[in-house]
Subunit: 207 residues, 2 copies
């Protein structure tokens, strides 16, 4: 990990966010230098006028290239950084399947598992949003079922090989226990998590 390099892109990110962690994982696996600017959502750092000028949608992660160009949306950033590397397939169909899982992650997985983790871990025990947890856990379990079903047939999510769809899905699956999911219920998923951790350049979440 290189966080103070004068070369390479800058990531605005919160270390405890799975969406931000995706970029740490890919950049570390690629061995690319980058600068990380801690931007803590729960401290309001994404709602300041300065940050909203960088990303009008007020979300991290945000990638800023050395020439100042900016890119938002974690999975779009993964695609951009992985282009031309083994983490994003060249073959059109394998690329399409990778994108399928990237969109699955943002639509059917993250809004349940990441949101449940946020409520369970950061909001007070008497917060009204605690009432959302049963429904989020029910829908999150369906997402894990879909992953388990896929892993019964294939070892990875990125068009037959390890790649950015695995990185994206790892981000919030590996900490799903913090959201109240009992991962041993999904043994294929649990085994896949270990295979991801064994990838060269893997770095744990800093939380």
């Amino acid at each position: 990990m290189t966080h103070s390099a004068s070369t390479g892109p800058t990531v605005y990110g919160w270390r405890a966010s799975g969406n931000c962690y995706k970029l740490q994982l890919l950049l570390d696996m690629l061995g690319r230098p980058y600068r990380w600017i801690d931007t803590v959502t729960t401290a309001g750092a994404t709602r300041t006028p300065e940050f909203l000028a960088l990303n009008p949608n007020g979300k991290v992660p945000l990638l800023v290239l050395e020439d100042g160009r900016r890119l938002a949306e974690s999975n779009a950033i993964l695609c951009y950084l992985a282009e031309g590397t083994p983490y994003l397939p060249d073959d059109a169909w394998d690329r399409a399947r990778t994108l399928q899982w990237l969109f699955f992650e943002q639509y059917s997985h993250e809004p349940c598992i990441a949101v449940a983790r946020f409520i369970a871990r950061w909001l007070p025990a008497d917060h009204e949003r605690q009432a959302e947890l049963p429904r989020l856990r029910e829908r999150g379990a369906v997402a894990l079922d879909v992953m388990e079903d896929h892993l019964a047939r294939e070892g990875w999510f990125s068009g037959g090989a390890f790649g950015i769809a695995d990185i994206a899905l790892f981000a919030y699956t590996h900490c799903a226990s913090e959201a109240g999911f009992e991962l041993p219920r999904w043994p294929g998923v649990a085994a896949w998590l270990e295979r991801v951790r064994a990838q060269p350049g893997f770095s744990p979440m800093i939380a």
Copy 2:
């Protein structure tokens, strides 16, 4: 529009769904033959054992190629079908920006505007989910604000030109009034909707 061709891919889709309409729009603009199999979510057609065998995530649209290969997730399907056409840029940065808006659409736009439309249009007036509408409309307005902000600087969402991010965002923006959004509040968005409607091959939603 060609719905009975013996060549071309098959789309399982519900005509009233914006996610499905995206594929109709792109295929019609490309002038590609395709077969459309009506799969009405509200009638339970995505929860049958037959459909779940095709897509374990139980969602439409689903693309089935002539050789039987299957692809889910509307925006992944758009990317696959648009590859090599003017609707998906070749340039790496323009492609990244297109993907940014595709992920924005699925994370920050569709879960508010499409869900509000579903509740307002298909659920009974005394359904408990009607209580979600104020919050969905508040968050949907933020998504429309982000689009308006972008359209103050650029004419399109797909890396400087019209393309699949415009198609994806058009799908639920054009019918946002059914979800309770007053589109004249966003004049840049309203003007962009008209520019999309003027694209060659444009076909209206069949609802």
